[in-house]
């Protein structure tokens, strides 16, 4: 039997507005508990919400980037349930009339194929606070700093057929929101959180299997692992004659397994109804058009432009445009150095390796785009060799400054001066008479290979700074003269 996994994702993205969605309190991350929660966030009696216009602007930007319909009339509703970190006893969210309607985006699969994933809708809502269970000895602490932070919940159709597709879609959403600048997209800080609806069915079946929802997965890696392990669980269960029960499950990354969050599935009745404290929000065409005009270049467009403008391969262009910071960094290097291909190599190989090893992001890395461009220019104009360039790059990562500063300070300029090189060649010839004799005695065909020894000796003597081409020419001439 061949099984097919069917996946739909619900992604919560915290919007990078300065204040909360219904109050003026700050949304900054990491403040001490309850220092960024005002009377409205605490749901004090008599307080009222006022919608944050910036949150709407961000949601519309997202909708336009997803080629989605924009809800010209959107309505906040109350989703009623009791929980200590939900101060009002209801979450203000959207249901029947969301800000973003259906849309579609393309994802790129590992084999280079592209696939369309449909967006069901995306809606604005408020985040809850946090319950803190550690450090309180049998009690719970409540931190309401996060309560009221604006979220868009992005709900896909069940269009993904593997964990890899789900991750590609998630990365695409991540790339879009960070390009738009509407969220920092930091999964580790909870700025982007993912729930995965997973079901399995026999390949060829039309109807969907019973799904389980895996809640709050907080990294790309875990999304992939959680979906895989959950699909396996469901397949094993069915193959053993069991039945999948619709339920909410949690992914345990340490044990790499999912487990049921609730012992029995109670159908929650959230009793949604339109929030009488907030009027329907009506957006006119001009407002939407203005936002459309102000949209930055999005990842797909940038990828295509990099291919045509910088003659990059589609793969390289896709890697370089996956996030906006990398794309901007690359483009500065390419433009400043005038060497787009070399720039792509340096960014994708050396810089990527350094970031990976040092666990840094571009933002905290000491190598600036201007520095890297300078380095590439010095390779191009022959000031340094490719090999020395690696040394210079090392120094850059330590914060030693621009390529020119490092080259000057360390005296790394390539030696092309004929007089200096001739002196070095003479010394090497004088000190290696037997090799010279062998060379002279050797067949013409074997000589180029043997020349390598002398070049190596000279590079060693010059600490790699000798211009290899010039060394070659001088060597040939001098050896002939022997």
């Amino acid at each position: 039997m061949e099984w097919e996994t069917v996946i739909g994702l619900e992604i919560h993205v915290q919007l990078a507005t300065r204040s909360k969605i219904f109050s003026g309190a700050s949304t900054a991350f990491g403040a001490s508990p309850n220092t960024q929660a005002c009377a409205i966030d605490l749901a004090m009696p008599g307080t009222l919400p006022v919608a944050n216009e910036e949150a709407f602007r961000f949601a519309v930007m997202f909708g336009l980037a997803m080629n989605a319909e924009i809800g010209k009339r959107s309505v906040f509703e109350r989703k009623n349930y009791f929980y200590p970190d939900l101060p009002k006893g209801y979450q203000t969210t959207q249901l029947a009339e969301p800000i973003v309607g259906s849309g579609v985006i393309e994802i790129e699969l590992g084999n280079g194929e592209r696939k369309s994933i449909r967006l069901h809708h995306a809606h604005l809502e408020e985040d809850a606070g946090k319950s803190l269970h550690e450090d309180y000895h049998g009690m719970s602490g409540i931190d309401l700093n996060r309560a009221g932070t604006p979220l868009i919940e992005i709900v896909s159709e069940p269009d993904m057929r593997s964990a890899e597709e789900a991750v590609a879609y998630l990365k695409k959403i991540h790339s879009i929101i960070t390009y738009l600048g509407i969220s920092d997209g930091e999964m580790s800080q909870g700025s982007m959180r993912c729930d995965a609806n997973v079901s399995v069915r026999l390949k060829g079946d039309e109807t969907l299997g019973t799904r389980c929802e895996i809640k709050n997965i907080n990294s790309f890696k875990f999304v992939e692992k959680a979906i895989k392990v959950e699909a396996e669980r469901q397949i094993d269960l069915i193959e053993d004659g069991g039945k999948v029960v619709q339920e909410t499950r949690l992914y345990d990354s340490e044990k790499n397994e999912t487990r049921s969050m609730r012992s029995k599935e109670v159908a929650n009745d959230y009793r949604y109804f339109p929030c009488p404290d907030l009027l329907p929000v009506i957006l006119d065409d001009d407002y939407i058009e203005q936002i459309r005009q102000s949209l930055p270049e999005l990842p797909d467009a940038k990828r295509d432009r990099f291919v045509s403008e910088y003659q990059l391969s589609s793969y390289d262009a896709a890697v370089l445009t996956a996030d906006r910071a990398t794309a901007d960094f690359y483009e500065t290097v390419a433009k400043t150095s005038g060497e787009p291909k070399l720039a792509a190599n340096w960014v994708m190989v050396d810089l990527a390796a350094h970031l990976n090893k040092s666990e840094q992001t571009l933002a905290d890395c000491k190598v600036s785009a201007e520095h890297l461009a300078g380095l590439i220019s010095r390779i191009k104009d022959g000031t340094i060799s490719g090999k020395i360039a690696k040394q210079v790059f090392e120094a850059m990562t330590e914060g030693e400054g621009s390529a020119d500063q490092i080259i000057d300070k360390r005296g790394l300029q390539q030696v092309s001066d004929t007089g200096a090189l001739e002196k070095m060649v003479d010394e090497v010839i004088a000190n290696n008479q037997s090799q010279v004799d062998n060379y002279k005695a050797a067949d013409e065909k074997k000589r180029p290979k043997m020349l390598g020894f002398f070049v190596g000796q000279i590079m060693k003597a010059s600490k790699g700074q000798a211009n290899p081409q010039a060394v070659n020419e001088i060597l040939l001439k001098k050896l002939d003269e022997q």
């Binding site: 004090m44 009696p45 008599g46 009623n80 200590p84 101060p87 009745d269 009488p276 404290d277």
Partner: protein, 484 residues
Amino acid sequence: MHTKTIAQLVSGLRSKAFSSVELTRHYLDRINSLDSKYNSFVTVTDDIALAQAEAADQRLAAGDASPLCGIPIAHKDIFCTLGVRTSCGSKMLDNFIAPYDATIVENYQRAGAVMLGKTNMDEFAMGSSNETSYYGPVKNPWNTQCVPGGSSGGSAAAVAALLAPAATASDTGGSIRQPAALCGLTGIKPTYGRVSRWGMIAFASSLDQAGTLTHTAEDAAIMLNAMASFDAKDSTCVDQPLEDYTAPLGDKLDGLTLGIPEEYFGEGLNPQTAERVQAAIKVYESLGAKVKAISLPHTHLAVPAYYVIAPAECSANLSRFDGVRYGYRCAEPKDLADLYKRSRGEAFGDEVKRRILVGTYALSAGYYDAYYNKAQQVRRLIKQDFVEAFKDVDVIVGPTAPNPAFEFGAKGDDPVAMYLEDIYTIATNLAGLPGLSIPCGLVDNKPVGLQLIGNYFAESRLLNAAHQFQLATDFHQQLAPETA
């Protein structure tokens, strides 16, 4: 001093017949010596009142004072007051001190009004008799065996007993107008959105509106001038230009068309109340108004629609009272569910629980369309009735309440009978229209109210019509026995 209207007190302060401190002390003395009979105040703020009165006297001396400067008033305990307990008539908020003022409290402070204290009310404004308060029932100064009406019963009794010249109040289904009628006062509920709801503890957000209780329409105009404002903190507040409601009070009523809805004179209306109302309409005719019979065909659906929508909204609005952050918390909760169940179970009274249950039911899956959606459809029809009516008439006139004040416990076992006390006032809230009640006579020595309903933002027209009636009659000057 306590028999004077605000308008008279304003002249008294300006002519230095008395100071605000003297006036304030006088009212505080009355409250402290007489209120045990009525139970109209939950909190008396002597120190704050005297400090505010002193400041008002300085402003008056400096000649920089708005009309209300130095005038003592009482606030219904539904309005949050910075540093002073705001209980909303509930055990749940018996220990609650808001860290902010309601916008209307701020507005009165800016105008220089003096806060005497906070008045008793039905718990969370749910009730028509003021019997549901955690602080005990309020007694009607006209007859202490009888209810003052609700939910603003404390504000009404305080003004009727001359313990304050005016009080703030709130009206979700008649909670200003019905107590005004039962206590012989002028009570106005403005258009929904005219007055900010910020800091007014929500019962049913789409229906709640703050207003005032006074002896005269002129005083109501002075009070509303200070209360009304546009407030960006309330998204449902309407950015409508402010008016001076006292300006058109003197306009004659020639050419005014009154609509008399036949549905407001049907079964259930006390015949003697009907007589007083009919007589009042005759007064209007003598003042030059024309009278036109009209129909508001969906009137009979107002109470059922209201008792779906208001409980539905309240069931969510009152979820924040969970014992977690403020307010009542049960002793030694075993776990989270126990904390919720006992905190809410022990601190909410029966009527509040009943409405939360009704609202929760009406919003439940499988019932939502049959109840909540249907009620919203009915609400639109009711609004449409008024829109049609106001094409032909300027003001709609009828009884405020079907009966004069009833005795304590008279409707205690029958919530529906209690709900029907608001049968003539509820539709106004559903439509968001302004409504006003003025005294129009006595039945069994108890006051009867005449209700005037106006078009959207036609408060000045209502106040003008009420003032002209009061120039021609003296019902508003009749005082509850033993008060003067």
